[in-house]
C-alpha cells in the first residue's frame, strides 16, 4: 500500500491515541466517537462510490441492521455481545447479497434505486415489528460492550474501541485499494468496457465491495447501539443514508482519507452550529453548498486547488 500511506496511517493512529489526553469531558469524546462511527460507514461508501462507481441511497439500513440485531438479541434473547455483533454482520451480508446481485448485474442506477427501496423497507420493519424492536418508541437498555472482564463503560474507553476498529478498517481498505482487486476496481471506474475487456469480472467485484461497505456499516451500527444504549428507527431513515453520502462527497469520494475527513467534519459541524440556534439548518445548507460549489472534488483535494486559485488571482 505504499510508504506514503503507511506514514499517514501511523500518524493518524498516533493522533488518535493521544487526542483524548488533550480533550476534557465526555461530550467531546462522544462527538469523537460519533465521528469514528460515521467515518467507518463513509469509508465503505467511499470504496463503493469512488472505486466501484456505484451509489447507495440506503446505507442507513445496514447501519440499522447492525444496531437492531445486537440490540434485540442482547436485550430480548440474552445473546453475548460477540454473537450478536456477528449476527448483525451476517444479516447485513445476506441483505447486501440479495439486493446487490440482481442490482449490480445490471449496468446503471439500479443499485441506487434498490438500496433506496431496501432502506425504506428496513425502516418500516423497525417501526412495525414492535414485539422485538419496540416500534417507533425505540429500544432502550441495550447493555454496554465488554472484552472479557474489561468493560467499555466510559466514553474514554469506547473512543479507543471505535477508533481502533476504524483504523483496522482503514488499514484493510488501503490494502484493498492497492491490491490487485483495487487496481481492477479503479480500472472499472475509468471505463467499464475496457476493464471487462481486460478480463475483470465486474459484477463480482462490485458485489464484493458493496458487501464490504455493508459490513462496515453494520459494525458501526452495533457499536452505536451499545454506546448510546437506545435506538429508534429515526436514526436509520433515508435522510441518514443521504447524510452519509454527503459526508463522502464533501470529503472527496475519490480518496478514502477524504471520506474520513468528510465524516469528521460533518459530524462536528452541527455541534458547532448550535450557536445559530434554530437557524442552523439554513447556515448548514449554505456551508454545504459553498463547499460543493467551490470545491466540487471535496475538501481534501479542493482546498489546495482553491488556495492556489486565490493566490494566482491576487498575483495577476
Amino acid at each position: 500500500m505504499g510508504r506514503k500511506n503507511y506514514f499517514k496511517l501511523l500518524s493518524l493512529s498516533i493522533a488518535v491515541a493521544v487526542l483524548p489526553f488533550f480533550i476534557r469531558g465526555d461530550y467531546y469524546l462522544s462527538v469523537l466517537v460519533f465521528m469514528g462511527l460515521n467515518g467507518l460507514i463513509v469509508m465503505g461508501l467511499s470504496l463503493l462510490m469512488g472505486y466501484a462507481g456505484q451509489i447507495s441511497l440506503g446505507h442507513a439500513a445496514f447501519y440499522g441492521i447492525g444496531a437492531y440485531c445486537t440490540g434485540v438479541l442482547t436485550t430480548h434473547f440474552g445473546f453475548s455481545i460477540y454473537l450478536s455483533f456477528l449476527a448483525g454482520i451476517i444479516l447485513s451480508v445476506l441483505v447486501a447479497i440479495i439486493v446487490g446481485i440482481p442490482a449490480l448485474r445490471l449496468k446503471g442506477h439500479y443499485l441506487a434505486v434498490a438500496t433506496l427501496g431496501i432502506g425504506e423497507i428496513v425502516f418500516i420493519i423497525f417501526n412495525e415489528w414492535m414485539k422485538y424492536t419496540g416500534g417507533p418508541s425505540g429500544l432502550s437498555n441495550i447493555p454496554g460492550v465488554h472484552l472479557g472482564n474489561f468493560q467499555f463503560n466510559s466514553s474514554f474507553r469506547f473512543y479507543y474501541l471505535v477508533w481502533g476498529i476504524n483504523l483496522l478498517a482503514l488499514f484493510f481498505s488501503l490494502n484493498l485499494i492497492h491490491s490487485r482487486v483495487g487496481r481492477a476496481l479503479r480500472s472499472m471506474h475509468g471505463s467499464e468496457t475496457a476493464a471487462s475487456a481486460m478480463g475483470v469480472n465486474l459484477s463480482f467485484l462490485k458485489i464484493q465491495v458493496f458487501v464490504l461497505s455493508a459490513v462496515y456499516a453494520s459494525v458501526a451500527g452495533s457499536l452505536y447501539a451499545h454506546f448510546v444504549s437506545f435506538i429508534s428507527p429515526n436514526n436509520f431513515g433515508l435522510m441518514v443514508s443521504v447524510m452519509f453520502l454527503m459526508m463522502g462527497v464533501i470529503g472527496g469520494i475519490h480518496n478514502i482519507w477524504g471520506a474520513l475527513l468528510g465524516a469528521s467534519l460533518l459530524t462536528f459541524l452541527p455541534e458547532y452550529l448550535r450557536v445559530f440556534n434554530q437557524y442552523d439548518i439554513l447556515v448548514y445548507g449554505a456551508i454545504l453548498l459553498a463547499i460543493l460549489l467551490f470545491m466540487p472534488e471535496g475538501i481534501l483535494e479542493g482546498t489546495p486547488v482553491l488556495i492556489r486559485k486565490l493566490f494566482r488571482q491576487r498575483k495577476t
Binding site: 442506477h109 418500516i124 412495525e128 469520494i253 448548514y284 445548507g285 460549489l293
Partner: protein, 297 residues
C-alpha cells in the same frame, strides 16, 4: 359499509395521492432526461408551491385564481435561479457530486422556508367551496377534482409540448443523446435551464393544489420526493406518460394496501413491488429496453 363503496373510496384516495406522486415523478424525469441528475430537491418545489400560495392568498389577499399563476411564476423563477447558481457552474463535476448538490440545495431551501414561514403547517381554503360529493357510497371532496383535473391537464400539455413544439422536440432529443443533440446545434445548456424551470412549475402546481387537502409545512418535501422518485423509476425514467401512470399506480397500491392489508406496511408493499418490477423488467414498466441502455447514473 359495503365492499363496493369501500373500494370506490380507496380508489379516490389512491388517485388523489397518485396525482401528486405523478406530478413530482414527472418533474424528476424532465430534469433527469436533460441532465442525468436525480434532483432530490424536487419535493421542495412542491413545498414552495404550497407555502407561496398560502402567503399570496392569506397574507396579501390576492384572489385565488391570480395567486395560483403568480405562485407558478415565482416557483419557476426559484427553479431557474437554482439551475443558474448551483448546477450550471458545476458542469465538469461527476454526477454523484451533482446529486449531492441537489441534497444540499434541498436542505438550504428548507432552511429558507423555515426562516420565512416558521415551522408551523399552513392550510388553504379549497379552490371551490362545496360539500363532499357522495358517489357510490364514497365521499369525494370537490378539491380532489381540482387536483386530478390539474394533473391531467398538466400531463396533456406536457405531452403536446414534447411532441408538437420545436423546443419540446429539442428537449426530447437531449434526453435521447445529449452529445448528438449538441452536435445537431441544440443549445443543451438552455435545455437544462428549461428542464429545471418546467420541473419547478410542475412542483408548484402539485403544491398549490394539495395544500387545501393535506396542509403544507417547511419539511414536507423529502417524503414527496421519495414517492415521486419511485414513480419516475417505475415509469422507466422516460419523458411522457410513464411516470404519470406509475405515480397513479403507486398511489392506488398504497391506498388499497392500507385498506385491505395493513396500514403500517402500505409503503413497504409499494416499494417491494417497485423493486420486483425493476429486477424483472429493469427498464421500468413503460421504459423501452433500448433507451434504457443509453441511460446511466
Amino acid at each position: 359499509m359495503d365492499l363496493q363503496s369501500q373500494i370506490v373510496q380507496y380508489l379516490v384516495t389512491g388517485l388523489t395521492l397518485g396525482s401528486i406522486y405523478a406530478m413530482v415523478g414527472l418533474g424528476f424525469t424532465i430534469i433527469y432526461n436533460a441532465t442525468g441528475i436525480i434532483n432530490l430537491a424536487q419535493g421542495e418545489f412542491v413545498m414552495f408551491g404550497g407555502l407561496i400560495m398560502v402567503f399570496l392568498t392569506a397574507t396579501l389577499r390576492i384572489p385565488m385564481f391570480l395567486a395560483f399563476f403568480i405562485t407558478l411564476a415565482l416557483v419557476t423563477v426559484i427553479g431557474i435561479i437554482y439551475e443558474r447558481v448551483f448546477i450550471n457552474p458545476l458542469k465538469q463535476t461527476s454526477l454523484i457530486t451533482l446529486i449531492i448538490v441537489t441534497v444540499a440545495v434541498s436542505i438550504f431551501f428548507r432552511g429558507i422556508a423555515m426562516f420565512i414561514w416558521g415551522k408551523n403547517p399552513y392550510s388553504l381554503p379549497p379552490f371551490s367551496s362545496g360539500k363532499p360529493i357522495m358517489f357510490a357510497g364514497a365521499a369525494i371532496l370537490p378539491q380532489i377534482f381540482w387536483v386530478l383535473g390539474l394533473s391531467l391537464l398538466t400531463v396533456i400539455l406536457m405531452n403536446l409540448f414534447f411532441n408538437r413544439t420545436i423546443t419540446g422536440k429539442a428537449m426530447s432529443a437531449c434526453a435521447g443523446n445529449r452529445l448528438a443533440a449538441s452536435l445537431m446545434g441544440i443549445n443543451v445548456s438552455k435545455m437544462i435551464l428549461l428542464s429545471f424551470a418546467l420541473s419547478a412549475t410542475l412542483g408548484a402546481i402539485a403544491g398549490a393544489s394539495i395544500t387545501p387537502i393535506a396542509l403544507m409545512e417547511y419539511d414536507r418535501g423529502p417524503l414527496l420526493a421519495l414517492k415521486g422518485f419511485c414513480a419516475a423509476v417505475l415509469g422507466g425514467l422516460g419523458l411522457g406518460t410513464g411516470a404519470v401512470v406509475a405515480g397513479f399506480i403507486i398511489g392506488i397500491i398504497e391506498s388499497f394496501s392500507a385498506g385491505f392489508i395493513s396500514s403500517g406496511f402500505k409503503d413497504a408493499i409499494a416499494l417491494i413491488i417497485l423493486i420486483l418490477v425493476l429486477f424483472i423488467k429493469p427498464s421500468g414498466i413503460f421504459g423501452s429496453e433500448e433507451v434504457g441502455k443509453v441511460k446511466q447514473f
